[in-house]
Symmetry: C2
Amino acid sequence: MERIAEGEYTVMEVLWDAAPLTAADVAARVPEDRGWTLATVKTMLSRLLAKGVLSHEEDGRRYLYRPAIRREDYVAEESGRLIDRMFGGRVPALVAQLAARDKLTPADIVEIEKLLKELKS
Amino acid sequence: MERIAEGEYTVMEVLWDAAPLTAADVAARVPEDRGWTLATVKTMLSRLLAKGVLSHEEDGRRYLYRPAIRREDYVAEESGRLIDRMFGGRVPALVAQLAARDKLTPADIVEIEKLLKELKS
DNA sequence: GAGGCAGAATTACACGTGTAATCGACAGGG
DNA sequence: CCCTGTCGATTACACGTGTAATTCTGCCTC
């Protein structure tokens, strides 16, 4: 699967959230703080099409864009990559790191424990 | 903290593992599969210096390089960034994703549970 | 002392990315 | 029927990055 840049990912998020959309719709849904013009969004859409991670169908003179890959798949790949690079592929090392940094609230801990318990059954 | 590119990260890993080192030493320790020449490694070292994530001290006519940031700090920042972007900052969502993808071995599960239990005490 | 070797510094260059502007085609309103 | 706004397509441009080669400078050897 082609790598998706950070800005491009923003656009993918929009389309994973609602699809299909026109370029203008996408632009309208991109978070304000990116401050992108419609032109910029269109560039992103073209590049994502070229990468094969979006598909488009014609709707009159416009395109309707929709994701061609699943969010979970992409997220899985990216997080796997990070875990491999930074934690030698060891998930417990990641969790230990988060714990050491106080990134786990008591609620998180309970929730994760519950998840794990279910896994074992 | 300045962002570190993927290739540059490879060099940081070497220096986190052993420091201080000369440029030649670093080059010798970079994983084979990158296939980098000494020149390339030197470029990386300069850029990392410029970013302020390495420091160097003179040793005669050479430099000895050493990390100026801690590995844990960088790793924490990067994993935080990923969790924010892909999981809305929710660690349990990440763990759920790993579970759904069978990225957790039974040994991992046990280990994580142990970690969490200790956290609560 | 001259020539070469070893370092760092400087320069190179293509590709990806962020961030658009411009162009060419066309549809709809007056 | 022409103007204007709206599409996608094409082009632009600077900066980061991967991947070096070239240059400059001084030390070591013969």
